[in-house]
């Protein structure tokens, strides 16, 4: 049966004397400085990102500043159901719903937000509004954070501002389809307006 003698960690005289170890440490740090300062590029280990000039890309699921997604005609997909403002734990979303005009295909079926405002200073970027939205109208996939400003008013993002922010890929729509009244599969406006197709 083979036996192994495990060497207990102890200090040799050289280590105890401290001076040789100091020299070793100095050599180590000098070598590191040389590599990081003058050495070949691929060996440099400098981790610093020169922030305002170089920006590290955020991860894919980073919750950035909100955007309101568009319909095909460029208007907001929001139906002013107030789910997001209800879900919001910071109470930073303010929505004033309004009815479509009589004769509009959407009239009586859904509403639209006359005012849609998010206080980005109050927002905690939890993403509950995105989860709560039944029509995929609000998203946080912009990949940028709120731009800095000296004035509080600049952080009150109104509907136009939110509509003007594109997603990370530059698009204003989402991949989820939206069925307009009259489309096959559309559930109809209500029982009175329901049409057979």
């Amino acid at each position: 049966m083979a036996t192994y003698k495990i060497q207990k960690p102890g200090r040799t005289f050289g280590e105890q004397a401290y001076l040789p170890e100091t020299v070793k440490g100095l050599a180590q740090t000098f070598a590191r400085i040389y590599t990081n300062l003058l050495g070949p590029e691929e060996k440099q280990k400098t981790a610093t990102v020169r922030y305002p000039d170089e920006v590290r890309e955020y991860p894919e699921r980073f919750r950035g500043v909100h955007r309101l997604t568009h319909r095909e005609d460029g208007s907001s997909r929001c139906v002013a159901c107030l789910c997001c403002s209800t879900a919001c734990p910071a109470q930073c979303i303010y929505i004033e719903p309004a009815e479509y005009e009589e004769g509009d295909p959407q009239f009586g079926y859904e509403r639209y937000p006359k005012v849609f405002m998010i206080d980005e200073l109050r927002c905690i970027f939890c993403g509950y509004c995105v989860e709560a939205c039944p029509v995929d109208a609000i998203r946080m996939d912009t990949g940028v954070h709120v731009p800095a400003s000296h004035r509080r008013e600049d952080f009150l993002f109104d509907k136009e501002t939110l509509l003007s922010i594109p997603a990370r890929d530059g698009s204003y729509v989402t991949a989820n389809p939206r069925l307009e009244p009259g489309d096959p599969g559309h559930p109809g406006l209500d029982r009175e307006h329901h049409k057979e197709h």
């Binding site: 001076l19 100091t22 440490g25 100095l26 180590q28 740090t29 000098f30 590191r32 400085i33 990081n36 300062l37 280990k45 400098t46 981790a47 610093t48 020169r50 000039d53």
Partner: protein
């Protein structure tokens, strides 16, 4: 005491303080910041800078080609010379303003190559994007300016007089230590552009490049170095802060302990040099080549004393790894915890000045001061051969190189460079070693450094008895 003496003393003081304040202190601050960053894989503070005009920044890449141009010029000259040699015309002193020889080519290449290297490697580092930042040095400067313009807070229950006077007391030793450090050989004004004789009396007025030539020179350094304890203790006492008080007490006990080792480790050097004057120590080191080959610097004769003194001076000036007085993981910032704005800046400046001046002292005692191997007072000389080209086309080169002025300048630069290397080394130690515990510091002082320095005295005494 005539007018010239006073004027000379003022000029010498201005030089020493100027070098320490305007060169060593900022460069050491810069080194400290970026050195530590680079060894920790960071870039450090570097982005602050002065915005440069766009026109300059656009031309910057082309400036680097100036170096290329001179390298190409050297190559073209070589080609031209080859053609001239091939045509049998080589003896004519025809090339530009310089007499032609292979030496010319070598000289041009030797000038061109470093210029090109500097242009390509150093110039880009002076700038970051559109601003001049000088390797990040301007960032450090702006930090100092910012600190200076901050609010100067005095704690409500502090002893206002002692609190205000402590940083000033810290600056005094740092400033006045430079007084006895000789930073160059004697300057003989009548001989500036001539070669000095090998030995003997030299006529004409002379200036010693040392503010005060004291016969107790090194004791003066010990005395003033020991006075540093007063400022730290006063600062800790007057701040009305328990952490500061702890720091002040720690500083006092540590500095008093290491003062002993600091003095004893140099006793071997006194015995060897036979003097306490620093300029005579340098003269001794220039005269006594070690083993016939190496320069006779104190570090070769007294290696143990060098290590002991280097360590003890580090501890004496409370530098890492001996920085328990200000250990920020335990007592925040120690004795200067409550200081802010300009007063805090004075602590910082005195710390870096102490690094500079103690490096100068170590360079004087252990690295031969202004001594350059192969350089005597009458010019370059190595292994019995003089650098002498008189009688050839290149006589002017040796005339310049051996002239008193050039020799003096080279000596001064050599001294400053030695002190600089020592300062950088001590900063490197600062970022390499972790802080010692308080009992370890005391143990190191009383149980290791002190017996070793006594042993050094004994061995040196025996050696002097045996070999002289």
């Amino acid at each position: 005491m005539d007018l010239w003496f006073i004027l000379g003393a003022v000029l010498k003081m201005a030089f020493i303080l100027g070098v320490a304040l305007l060169f060593y202190a900022p460069v050491f601050v810069l080194f400290e910041r970026r050195q530590s960053a680079f060894m920790q894989d960071r870039l450090g503070p570097y982005m602050g800078g002065i915005k440069m005009p766009a026109a300059l920044m656009e031309r910057l890449p082309t400036l680097q080609y100036g170096g290329f141009a001179s390298a190409i010029g050297a190559a073209l000259t070589a080609l031209l010379a080859a053609v001239m040699i091939a045509l049998g015309d080589a003896s004519e002193p025809a090339l530009f303003f310089l007499p032609f020889s292979w030496g010319t080519l070598f000289l041009l290449a030797a000038i061109g190559a470093p210029v090109q290297y500097v242009g390509a490697k150093v110039l880009p580092h002076l700038f970051y994007r559109d601003r001049l930042n000088i390797f990040g040095g301007l960032h450090a400067l702006f930090d100092a300016l910012k600190a200076f313009t901050k609010e100067d807070i005095i704690p409500p229950h502090a002893d206002k007089f002692l609190y205000a006077i402590a940083p000033i007391l810290a600056m005094i030793p740092a400033f006045s230590l430079g007084a006895v450090v000789p930073f160059g050989p004697d300057v003989h004004f009548d001989w500036l552009f001539d070669q000095l004789p090998e030995g003997g009396a030299i006529s004409g007025p002379v200036a010693h490049l040392q503010v005060a030539s004291l016969n107790i020179g090194i004791l003066y350094i010990f005395a003033l170095g020991g006075a540093g304890v007063i400022s730290a203790a006063i600062a800790g006492y007057s701040s009305d802060n328990k952490f500061a008080l702890l720091g002040g007490i720690r500083a006092a006990s540590q500095m008093v302990s290491y003062e002993v080792t600091l003095g004893l480790s140099l006793v071997g050097c006194f015995m060897l040099f036979g003097t306490l004057r620093l300029e005579e120590m340098v003269a001794w080191q220039m005269d006594h080549a070690f083993l016939g080959i190496l320069p006779g610097w104190g570090i070769f004769y007294q290696p143990l004393a060098f290590v002991l003194f280097f360590t003890a001076s580090m501890a004496e000036y409370k530098r890492i790894p001996f920085d328990v007085p200000e250990g920020e993981s335990e007592i925040v910032a120690g004795y200067f915890l409550e200081y802010s704005s300009g007063k805090w800046l004075m602590w910082m400046i005195s710390e870096f000045l102490e690094i500079a001046v103690s490096s100068m002292v170590i360079a004087t005692i252990f690295l031969g001061g202004w001594d350059v191997p192969g350089l005597t007072q009458s010019g370059w000389r190595a292994f019995g051969y003089r650098f002498d080209l008189s009688g050839t086309n290149w006589a002017f080169l040796s005339e310049i190189a051996n002239s008193h002025l050039f020799v003096t300048l080279v000596s001064i630069v050599a001294f400053l460079a030695k002190a600089f290397v020592l300062g950088v080394l001590s900063l490197q130690v600062r970022w390499t070693l972790p802080r010692f515990r308080y009992d370890q510091i005391m143990q190191l002082c009383w149980k290791i450094l002190l017996p070793l320095s006594l042993l050094n005295v004994l061995v040196t005494g025996v050696a002097i008895l045996l070999f002289s």
